[in-house]
């Protein structure tokens, strides 16, 4: 067992993990933050996307020990108290989810792409950037609309 320390959603956390423990297992089972989902467990679907040191990664394909010393943000860390993050609000407003299973990963990927493109996103870019996030309900249209709305909103208020 190895002791790891990291910051998760602004809080210092530590834990004892096996070296083979995946980051998503530590987040869900060690920290009980079950908003991050495991869909395919083969780094394809993107339900497990979190931010590690500001970069969107698939937490089913990173060992928890690799994230030792990093700053991790999960879906639980986006909202400010009762105020939803603009991406969360846009998904709600635009009906960007149906069953909701892929939504945590969609929102974490969306927040990352809006940041990287400084809010300047068009439909083709959003669709290309969603390559690593799979949704089996929506057909993506409302997800794309949600991300576009959030990007427009965030670049307006920036």
């Amino acid at each position: 067992m190895t002791t790891i320390n990291m910051t998760v959603n602004g809080k210092a956390v530590s834990g004892e993990v096996e070296d083979r423990t995946l980051l998503v297992e530590f987040i869900r089972e060690g920290l009980r933050l079950t908003g991050t989902h495991v869909g395919c467990d083969t780094s394809q679907c993107g339900a497990c996307v979190v931010h590690v040191d500001g970069k969107a990664i698939k937490s089913c394909t990173m060992l928890a020990v690799q994230a030792d010393g990093t700053n991790v943000v999960t879906i639980e860390g986006l909202a400010n108290g009762a105020d939803l993050h603009p991406v969360q609000a846009a998904f709600k407003e635009n009906h960007g989810l149906q069953c909701g299973f892929c939504t945590p990963g969609m929102i974490m990927s969306a927040a990352d792409m809006i940041e990287r493109y400084d809010g300047k996103l068009d439909e083709a870019t959003i669709r290309a950037e969603l390559e690593g996030n799979i949704c089996r309900c929506t057909g993506y249209h409302n997800i794309v609309k949600s991300i576009q709305a959030a990007a427009d909103e965030m670049s307006k208020s920036a």
Partner: protein
């Protein structure tokens, strides 16, 4: 995943010494292939030596004739680098279409070529551009580096430090991604270099990345998309699987070659 022991190396020397004391160790780059392989229990190294913290493997630099990229540089960093976009835009474009954004944030140049997946993108660029692979003990030319599917001339404890790409006059890359996995079913990197045209094909060959000599000769006479796509490509040594027959791939190689030359301009 079977049990393993994780080590974070702080330097190249530290990494080789950790590997030396491991029973059956493996170096860990970005982990985008190795971790999924371990999860499927297709690999079970006793020890993982993480190269992610080694400063010598980072950085992108150019001296006007050569572009050098550290082995630990991620695909996202290559795609977004103004040095790469300026020197070899085709290489930045290639990196921007590997995997998906999350994979590009982790996967590295060194990890990709050390694995030498027959459908990986980078080997085509490394071979077509005649790059030199610098390791912790020697320099290896691209032609001597790739030894068939998933095989390279690296020894077990050898570490890729950087890859130096001679800057071509122009270059282009085009691939046909598998509709499901998005891995290249055929990818062609075409470069016009001071030594003449060089064309490398990934995704299609049974022995991994290879140079298409006849296409190089055709482009030498006439650098045009039609010249590249007009070359007869033999299906003899190409892969056949549920995704496509060798004949289908042979045609894809021609079409992708035309597109690569067109992208190069």
């Amino acid at each position: 995943m079977y049990e393993t022991k994780y080590h974070k190396a702080g330097s190249l020397d530290n990494a080789t010494s950790l590997m030396g004391s491991a029973d059956d160790g493996k170096y860990l780059g970005g982990g985008m292939t190795l971790i999924p392989t371990m999860k499927q229990r297709l690999a079970a190294p006793s020890d993982l030596v993480d190269l992610g913290g080694i400063a010598d493997l980072q950085g992108i630099s150019t001296d006007g004739s050569t572009l050098t990229i550290g082995a630990g540089v991620t695909h996202a960093e290559v795609a977004g680098s103004s040095d790469v976009q300026g020197a070899i835009p085709a290489l930045a474009a290639l990196a921007s279409h590997i995997g998906d954004p999350h994979v590009r944030n982790c996967g590295t140049l060194g990890g990709s070529i050390a694995n030498n997946d027959p459908a990986a993108d980078y080997p085509a660029a490394v071979l077509a551009l005649g790059a030199t692979i610098k390791t912790n003990s020697r320099e290896i030319t691209a032609g001597d580096f790739f030894n068939g599917m998933f095989e390279t001339s690296l020894s077990d404890d050898e570490i890729i430090v950087s890859v130096s790409f001679p800057i071509p006059e122009k270059a282009g890359y085009a691939k046909f991604p598998n509709p499901a996995s998005r891995y290249a079913m055929a990818g062609v990197f075409a470069a016009s270099t001071s030594d003449g045209p060089r064309v490398a094909v990934t995704g299609a060959g049974q022995d991994g990345v290879y140079r298409e000599d006849a296409m190089e000769a055709a482009l030498s006479a006439d650098w045009s998309p039609a010249a590249a796509s007009g070359v007869d490509v033999s299906a003899d040594d190409l892969m056949s699987d549920i995704h496509g027959t060798s004949d289908y791939r042979a045609n894809l190689v021609k079409v992708m070659a035309g597109r690569a030359v067109e992208a190069a301009g």
